[in-house]
Amino acid sequence: MEKFLTVDADKCTGCRLCEQVCSVMHEGVSNPAKSRIQVVKWEQEGVYIPVICKQCEDAPCMNVCPVRAISRDPDFGFMKVDQEVCIGCRSCVGICPFGAMGYNPTTRQVFKCDLCGGDPQCVRFCEVNAVEFVPVDRVSTQKKRRGAARQSAAERQATALG
């Protein structure tokens, strides 16, 4: 079953360990600017949201690439950049609606999440499970269950008030 990287921002503590391990895993350096995952923060409200590549079905990055450097990996289903082909034009960086494409000024090429070839390090290191790697069909059932629990709690509260 194909797996999907999913984020629960409520759980994120904003520590950015995922950025650290991602850049070390992929580039051998610690540098959040080269991480495939980035935590967007509103510190003044205590809100932290990890931003990741959604591996879109109709992927704008793939569609916009003038040299067809971006394609879907047949084994794991993620969108991958062929570094042999990438010309560093950054069209994909500009068009990605999530800001999930990065540009590496050292190699002068773009980079993106490759799910670490099936064992995403961001997930492995996230103790609070704000980022999870789950089978595609399970994401929505998990969300349903959580949504239903919230709704039921709210209904009980409303009944009590009534």
Binding site: Q44, G46, V128
Partner: protein
């Protein structure tokens, strides 16, 4: 590469900036962070310099491992001569500032001189700029940070700033970063204010190359598992540092009413669980946050529920805020604790010091040493929440006679208040104590008496002494990397063996401060957490530098001796009540009145205390006056200091 991070010298008077590499031999000797800062301070601060004068260097740094692939290495260390103690000034904070400093290409900034108008430093990718801060002057700590981000149009900028307390040169003003990360102790924010330096803003996208990336990654996973599997860290991750509040109060270790009592009545009202409920209601069930790369996430988030500041977001309160706005002034409302915590974060002032100062003034008021004339109508009795919060405002803004006097720090304030006010000031080296009571725990008392920055628990506290660990376990911990076959006792009320434990802890804490690691990741509150034996691999995988456990110990000892040399040079003598390794007379004269049966009636025995100090000096290779002998200096390679190599 961590090792290619640079040192920058910034003179705010001449506006000159000089950037230099850090030689490898200096890394081997002083590692980085606080240790290297101690070297820089000893070498750059002229003897007897005015802490608020232009020649006092303000040194800002990250640790050797900061921003590498090592867990929880986000600590920023700041050093200068302290305006509070006139001795070593040193503070340490978490957050995201130090890693950003490393990604911008620097490990150490040495800031001297004084600007004639408010400025801030803009440090980015190897460059340093001095910029106008007139529009920032008068702003609180968070508004300053957001304004800099807006001005430079980059929301990822991390800044170390001062609030109004630093501008007004309150001698215990903090440096702040983020919402509540504070370099709290010894008034480093006051030094910043004296230089007209409002902020240091940093942003970097430079690689920190990892020497052995895959090994570093795998080792980091093991390290994190070791750290998060410790029960103490799991509970910290749920409740923050106040988790220790209830237990400490039960046995009688919470300093209450300016050290009159060792236990707070009605402590349940401000138990972390009570505050936790508020946070859960206002923020949600997952209301904890962490510093860079840390899985302990010990910082609680909350919104104030009621009162003047209802709806304001903040983080904490830490154990010290419970002491400062709960036990010490004997106030028992969670709202007061959360509001007080918010005020100190916004003004940028040391919560511990300000809480102790106000509690001291409250006792003086109840004794009649201070009257309504000095307080200008404020009814400054214990338990008056309103008066407590009013005094926080008055001190930070230097309003009124008393606010202004208390803002100068304990010893100058005692002189201005007169009578026997000094006798009630619970201080060591001019700095107030943590809100814990050490009368029943000689090891902890020795720690605060001898800590290099004045009364403080994060320099050498053998906190695991309270766990009554079996002697073989203690021997395993305290017998490495340097063999120790002297006495050790599992009993926390004992005197024997404590001097070695404090000596050992002093070196552990120095080592983590050099590496940039948080103290919750070493033998502080958890006995199973990493120490000397565990660090060589982390250092090697991340930086390529080879250290043995003993070499780390030696470097830590070297740095501790440098701090000692600085303090001695600036006037520390063993028995000086204002600048020495001693305690307030209450420790020796007034027994604990509350607490567990083995605590009630306990006080520190003067003779046994003196023996402990003798032993402690002896472990260091210091003479009876606490001065390092020439053999010790030679052994540590310090005989020629100051050497001005950096």
């Amino acid at each position: 590469m961590a090792l290619d991070r640079k040192i920058a010298y910034i003179n705010l008077s001449t506006r000159e900036v000089e950037i230099k590499p850090i030689p490898l031999e200096m890394r081997k000797k002083f590692i980085g962070g606080r240790g290297m800062d101690a070297y820089l301070l000893y070498n750059h601060a002229p003897e007897g310099c005015d802490p608020l004068g232009p020649e006092n260097p303000l040194i800002v740094s990250g640790g050797l491992l900061t921003a590498t692939c090592a867990s929880a290495t986000a600590r920023t260390h700041v050093m200068a001569k302290s305006p509070l103690t006139n001795l070593l000034g040193s503070c340490n904070m978490g957050g995201f500032f130090a890693p950003e400093l490393a990604w911008s290409g620097f490990h150490h900034l040495v800031i001297t001189g004084k600007s004639d108008k408010p400025v801030y430093l803009w440090v980015h990718n190897g460059e340093i700029e001095i910029r106008d801060a007139e529009y920032l002057w008068g702003k609180n700590s968070t508004d300053t940070q957001w304004a800099i981000r807006d001005e430079l149009d980059d929301q990822e900028i991390k800044s170390m700033v001062i609030g109004q307390a630093g501008e007004n040169q309150v001698t215990y003003a903090c440096v702040m970063t983020g919402i509540k990360n504070a370099g709290g102790r010894t008034g480093m924010g006051c030094v910043m204010g004296s230089k007209n330096l409002k902020a240091v803003a940093v942003r970097g996208t430079m690689d920190v190359k990892i020497a052995h990336p895959m090994d570093a990654l795998e080792h980091n996973k093991k390290f994190i598992d070791q750290i998060t599997s410790a029960k103490v860290n799991q509970i910290q991750g749920a409740l923050g540092t106040p988790f220790i509040w209830g237990a400490t109060n039960c046995w009688g270790g919470v300093r209450t009413r300016n050290f009159q009592y060792n236990q707070m009545e009605y402590a349940d009202e401000i138990e972390p669980e009570a505050i936790d409920d508020i946070a859960t209601e206002t923020i949600g069930p997952h209301h904890m946050t962490g510093c860079f790369g840390c899985q302990v996430h010990c910082r609680a988030q909350y919104k104030i529920q009621s009162g003047l500041y209802a709806g304001k977001y903040d983080e904490g309160p830490e154990y010290t805020s419970l002491g400062a706005f709960g036990a010490e002034p004997d106030c028992k409302s969670a709202e007061t604790v959360l509001t007080g915590n918010h005020l100190v974060n916004q003004y940028g002032v040391d919560n511990l010091e300000i809480g102790s100062m106000i509690a001291w003034a409250m006792e003086l008021y109840e004794l009649g040493i201070l009257t309504q004339k000095e307080t200008e109508g404020i009814d400054l009795r214990f338990g008056n929440d309103e008066a407590l919060l009013q005094m926080v405002h008055n001190i930070c803004t230097r309003t009124g006679w008393l606010g202004n006097v208390l803002a100068d720090g304990g010893i100058p304030a005692a002189e201005k208040i007169g009578k026997n006010a000094f006798d009630y000031l619970i201080q060591v080296k001019g700095m107030n104590n943590l809100h814990s009571d050490e009368r029943a725990t000689p090891g902890l008392a020795l720690n605060i008496a001898t800590a290099s920055r004045g009364s403080d628990h994060l320099r050498s506290r053998p906190a695991i002494d309270l766990y009554h660990l079996p002697e073989p376990v203690l021997r395993k911990i305290y017998g490495s990397p340097v063999p120790y076959d002297g006495p050790l006792s599992s009993e926390h009320t004992e005197y024997i063996g404590k001097s070695w434990q404090v000596f050992w802890q002093e070196n552990v804490y120095m080592a983590v401060d050099c590496l940039g690691i948080c103290k919750y990741h070493t033998v502080f509150l958890g006995a199973t957490l990493p120490n000397f034996e565990d660090w060589p691999k982390v250092i090697y995988y991340n930086t390529g530098l080879e250290f043995t456990p003993k070499e780390i110990w030696d470097a830590a000892e070297r740095c501790n001796n440098l701090e000692r040399l600085f303090n001695l040079r600036e006037g520390l003598t063993r028995n000086d009540p204002k600048k020495g390794d001693t305690l307030n007379h209450r420790y020796f004269d007034e027994p604990c009145r509350r607490g567990a049966p083995d605590v009630i009636g306990k006080k520190i025995d003067r003779d046994k205390f003196n023996v402990m100090i003798d032993e402690f000096y002896d472990h260091h290779g210091w003479d009876k006056e606490g001065v390092p002998t020439s053999e010790t200096l030679q052994r540590l390679g310090l005989e020629n200091e100051p050497t001005r190599l950096l």
